[in-house]
Amino acid sequence: MSEPILLEATDITKAFGGVRAVDTVSVAVHEGTIHALIGPNGAGKTTFFNAISGFTFPDHGRVTFRGTDVTRTLNWRRITMGMGRTFQTPSVFPELTVDENIRLGVRAHAKQAFRLRTPGGAAAAAVDARVDELLGFVNLAAQRERLVAELAHGSQRLCEIAMSLSTEPVLVLLDEPMAGLAEAETDRIVAVIRDLRQRLGLTVFFVEHNMRVVLALADRITVLDRGKLLAEGSPQEIAADNAVRRAYLGSEVLERV
């Protein structure tokens, strides 16, 4: 791993009551990589994700992002520093149109959200252009006037990805982007995630269950099991790791690799 570290989580611990959902886990996400976080149900993947994205704060440990300690930084401020995030169930504004959903993010990034007047002229044109660009990127231009609540699950997720891109992040955190999707929809999202790096040059850190997707996309894989770090390495190394095999992967999955 020669690329510089973009996000580094050191000894993250988070307990709920007596249960240590995440127990002294350290992960470094390098710039320009697609990094996957996998593990069986209840391994603490989402808890770990919440701790690094500021949805909750860790009990112990340190998070640095772009060289700055952000362990106790409020989540909205992390976004302004260049983090973007999606959730397991698409987190969107269901009663607004696709266009308005994305526009909110673009306006927020352009520091127009607090205004009492909608800016005109060049500022408005810049916002329109950026909305069009994002709609094109996730291929939702045809549905732009539809309410998000009316969209298929996969399209809602694409809308959410476009929203997380609207704030122009350098790192995108995706929490189970394929959860509940059909094969065809999964392929669309896989293509978009690949484009995040190839076309936009972003770093992606994602939680996923679908091993086919993880092995196809990731440069690097971190495995959690019962709150602890079990293994980390390239897809080949993880697929060959006996501990991972026992804890998580069915042997038939490995044979296909």
């Binding site: 995030r85 987190s91 504004f93 009663e95 909110l104 306006r107 607090f114 006037e145």
Partner: protein, 339 residues
């Protein structure tokens, strides 16, 4: 197209309301009841901004309403100010109250925001109730309606003049309210109602938006309370009580949460309904309660909200320019809640 229709509706409504003093004798309605409708609408708008648009249970807005009434009453009684200054004093008292309470309310959401709002309102209620030397305690404060003020120092305000003053304030408030809810700021408030976590994950400090919404809400409630006090020449502790807050919420739901005109319709039905039914039977609250239950069961979006939804129910073909224009005009702009 849509903006022009809205402007037409607005002008029509203001012209109709301007004819109020001519119409009211024909239907045996006191003009001061119509003034009360306009004044109350401002308080309903203040609840609507927090509850209908931003999704915060504003169950304590009577605190700002009462602060407005007492601000006017105290300034007239002890400082002998004119009408305009009394209204400004009431508004300032309410905004000052929100500035003090805001930081405590800001981090609370959902039912905790609602309960804390009620609790703070009760604090003001008991201050007014107990601080008898200044506020008159349970008996309240009687005070004369002062002359208008700047440039018109000797012009007395009778009921008809009061009505037109209230109408001007109402019209300004409606325009300002529309500007706020249609602005990028207002869009963000609506987004907070739908999904606050996502708004934060767009890099926005939602607490800041909510604090400003609270101040605007308090300003509206304060002006409403001050005008109400000046209308009835009286300020009393029950104006600060949570029953009063509940009435504003009820009127908002009756008219339609998240709709501008719903606030007027809700206040109109409640205030006039109360006036008419209470002359027939002392059990008027039973009838208003029944109306409220019927409304929640039959029209959960309120009267204006349900009308808006009805208009939008026609099937929409996005390829068809005519119907897709209807679609543009309907759903997205008012967030599926009517006009």
């Amino acid at each position: 197209m849509r903006a022009r229709r809205e402007l037409a509706v607005f002008i029509l409504a203001v012209v109709l309301l301007a004819c109020g003093p001519l119409i009211s004798p024909l239907v045996h309605l006191d003009i001061s009841i119509l003034s009360e409708v306009l004044v109350t609408t401002l308080a309903v708008l203040s609840v609507n901004l927090l509850l209908g648009y931003t999704g915060l249970p504003a169950f304590g807005n009577a605190a700002y309403f009462g602060l407005g009434a007492y601000g006017a009453a105290l300034s007239v009684t002890y400082l002998h100010v004119d009408f305009v200054t009394a209204v400004l004093a009431g508004a300032a008292a309410a905004v000052a109250g929100a500035l003090i309470l805001g930081p405590f309310l800001l981090r609370r959401r959902g039912i905790y925001f609602g309960l804390l709002s009620i609790a703070f309102g009760e604090i003001f209620y008991f201050i007014a109730y107990r601080y008898t030397d200044v506020t008159g305690g349970e008996d309240g404060m009687n005070f004369p309606r002062p002359p208008f003020g700047p440039g018109l120092a000797h012009v007395a305000i009778h009921e008809t003049q009061f009505y037109y003053i209230a109408l001007v304030v109402f019209a300004v408030a409606m325009i300002a309210f529309r500007v706020v809810v249609r602005s990028p700021f207002g869009r963000t408030l609506i987004a907070i109602r739908q999904n606050e976590a996502r708004v934060r994950y767009l890099g926005l400090d939602t607490d800041r938006f909510i604090f400003v919404a609270l101040l605007i809400s308090a300003l509206l409630a304060g002006v409403s309370g001050a005008l109400f006090g000046l209308l009835i020449n009286f300020a009393y502790p029950l104006e600060l009580d949570w029953h009063q807050s509940g009435n504003f919420v009820l009127m908002m739901i009756l008219g339609g949460a998240g709709t501008i005109w719903g606030s007027l319709i809700g206040a109109l039905i409640y205030v006039i309904g109360k006036d008419i039914i209470s002359t027939i039977t002392p059990l008027w609250q039973i009838f208003l309660g029944a109306l409220f239950v019927a409304c929640v069961l039959g029209f959960p979006r309120g009267i204006v909200g349900s009308l808006g939804a009805l208009r939008r129910r026609r099937p929409v073909d996005p390829e068809d320019p005519v119907s897709s224009e209807a679609f543009d005009a309907g759903a997205p702009v008012e967030v599926g809640r009517g006009v």
